[in-house]
């Protein structure tokens, strides 16, 4: 009887799970495996898109491809800059939102707003903000007398990179503050009271209580953000299209152009595979620290 119930339960379990697994396999596993396979072929306009097996040629080409290395460099800069800025700012906002003050509910609602809005449209808003003629950034700088003429923010590679980083920090900091705020609320307040009695300054109690106990949340936020920033597409595509002169072109924009503009499917597939492997590497390193921080946090309490 028990065996019968077990068997029935197991059958139901699989019936409930298989649709989800099938959809995930179709949309996630198939494209990656397909890219691995395609990356061994040359499929481009040169051979009328008829696949020709060329082994590792695509990968060899990548090693020589200056544009690829440039996009990888840009992606790294963008990822490191946005994630670290967002972490610091997100922590600051989380600490503010964790205080008690009047109207806290409304402020918390406002603080998650940027995260929920469509990135492509937000990119339009920031393009307008950084506009060289009518942009509000230039207007403020001119009024403060910091500059004499308007800066062409999106017309210079370095400034354009700064602009997309600012836009991304605005858009994604709320995600980090939400996660960190949840972590802050799980820290028992008597820990702070004990610290205060010991005469610790706010900075000391932040270093000795908040930061260690918040480490798991910090690493989770890092993990998500590293992966998302590494694959950034919509924001940069709309704000600069990768320009000027490839100054903000990230790996994902290069992949998209390789496939959709140059119709170079084999090489595009190889780029997908390498990006995937790099991402796996980044995530593996981050999860290693996640596990260590989780152990340390559970040991501390």
């Amino acid at each position: 009887m028990v065996d019968y119930v077990r068997a029935q339960e197991r059958r139901t379990g699989w019936l409930l799970t298989i649709p989800a697994i099938a959809v995930l396999a179709l949309v996630f596993a198939y494209p990656i495996l397909r890219a691995v396979w395609q990356s061994f072929f040359t499929i481009n306009l040169g051979n009328q898109l008829s696949p020709a097996f060329t082994g590792l040629d695509n990968y060899a080409r990548m090693a020589q491809d200056g544009r690829f290395w440039n996009t990888l460099w840009n992606t790294t800069i963008f990822t490191l800059a946005t994630v670290s800025l967002e972490l610091v700012l997100g922590m600051g906002i989380a600490l503010v939102l964790n205080q008690s003050f009047r109207g806290r509910g409304i402020v918390r609602t406002i603080a998650i707003l940027p995260w929920a809005l469509p990135t492509a449209l937000i990119a339009l808003a920031w393009t307008w903000i950084f506009n060289d003629q009518y942009g509000v950034v230039n207007d403020i700088l001119l009024r403060l007398g910091l500059i004499q003429t308007g800066i062409n923010w999106l017309g210079n590679p370095t400034l354009a990179m700064i602009s997309v980083i600012v836009a991304d920090v605005w858009k994604t900091t709320p995600f980090i503050s939400i996660l960190l705020l949840a972590g802050l609320q799980s820290i028992p307040s008597d820990l702070y009271e004990a610290q205060a009695i010991d005469g610790a300054s706010p900075w000391q109690s932040f270093r000795q209580v908040t930061l260690p106990l918040l480490l798991p949340q910090i690493v989770i936020a890092l993990l998500f953000r590293l992966a998302q920033a590494f694959g950034i597409f919509d924001l940069i595509s709309v704000m600069t299209g990768g320009g000027p002169g490839g100054g903000t072109e990230t790996v994902s924009l290069y992949i998209y152009a390789t496939v959709m503009r140059y119709l170079d499917f084999g090489y595009g597939a190889a780029l997908v595979v390498v990006t995937f492997l790099l991402l796996v590497l980044v995530v593996a390193i981050a999860s290693f620290f996640l596990n260590r921080s989780r152990k340390r946090a559970s040991g501390a309490v």
Binding site: A111, L121, I122, Q217, A221, V251
Partner: protein, 292 residues
């Protein structure tokens, strides 16, 4: 993480004198940081062309500098209501599908002992971190093979899939917190597993489904790269893509006013969602990320 932020919970003890000065400033800065870009776009969308192009910028336009023209121009240029309808349809359909497929799987992973459960969960977790750029090439293949280009299904299926991991993680953590007594009682009363799920478990699950559904709706509404690739017919485009493609007649004539109007209209549905469901969003995000 069942409780969203409880109010009036004092967590930090600092010297009050410092707090009295710093806290209001910090709160004001936070609000300014989060709202200023949105407000600027909102203001632009209601300005006349002359006021938009005035230097130095106009922050407090007079009555003769305000207009609804930008919205009118937007609707003259493009079928913007179509875009809103497309986004709504695709987001709603993929949300319903993600919940319909994901919640049962989450239940199975939380309650029924499956072989390979850990492998499935690990797979679901890893997949959350895949950026869509890695998928569009392979999906393009499928879309071509099944002739799904310019078909809503070419968006609904991938959107369902990218929302499944979050759905499974949030719902699974919900099911794990649900007391098992009711289900055991139902078993004793002779309910079959499917009947018990529909009659007993589903009604209790509705709030968690709503929480998850809001997150999946937002994600689907905001998706860009698949919508850009698989839909080329003007009247079938979604809001983010159509907004991004609002160019002028020449590269030198950028219609700032209509673009601002499009941004405002395209974000209003999400602003409303956030205003109404702030707590649920926070709850869903934290349980999805932290429990995972």
């Amino acid at each position: 993480m069942t409780t969203a932020f409880p109010e009036n919970q004092q967590t930090t003890v600092h010297r009050p004198s410092i707090r009295r000065f710093i806290l209001p400033i910090a709160v004001a800065l936070t609000v300014l940081f989060c709202l200023a870009p949105i407000l600027w776009e909102l203001l632009t969308s209601f300005k006349t062309d002359d006021a938009i192009a005035e230097i130095p910028n106009v922050y407090f336009p007079g009555p003769n500098q305000l207009t609804l023209d930008q919205y009118q121009k937007l609707f003259e240029r493009r079928p913007f209501l179509n875009y809103l309808f497309n986004s709504f349809l695709v987001s709603l359909a993929s949300t319903v599908l993600a919940l319909g497929i994901g919640a049962p799987a989450a239940y199975a992973l939380a309650r029924l002992k499956l072989q390979g459960e850990r492998i499935i969960l690990a797979g679901v977790l890893i997949v959350t971190l895949f950026p869509p750029i890695l998928l569009f090439l392979g999906l393009l293949d499928i879309v071509r093979y099944l002739n799904l280009g310019n078909n809503y299904l070419s968006l609904i299926i991938p959107y369902t899939a990218i929302n499944l991991p979050l759905t499974i993680l949030v719902m699974r953590s919900f099911f794990q917190q649900l007391p098992k007594d009711l289900e055991d009682a139902a078993r004793v009363d002779g309910y079959s597993t499917p009947r018990m799920l529909l009659d007993i478990v589903l009604p209790m699950t509705l709030p968690a489904l709503a929480t998850t559904g809001i997150l999946t709706f937002i994600a689907a509404w905001n998706e860009f790269i698949f919508a850009l690739t698989f839909i080329t017919r003007e009247d079938m485009k979604t809001v983010p893509v159509a907004g991004a493609q609002l160019g002028g007649a020449s590269p030198f004539e950028i219609p700032f006013g209509p673009i601002a109007a499009a941004t405002v209209l395209g974000t209003i549905p999400l602003v409303l969602l956030v205003l109404i469901f702030q707590r649920r969003i926070v709850q869903g995000l934290t349980s999805g990320a932290v429990k995972g």
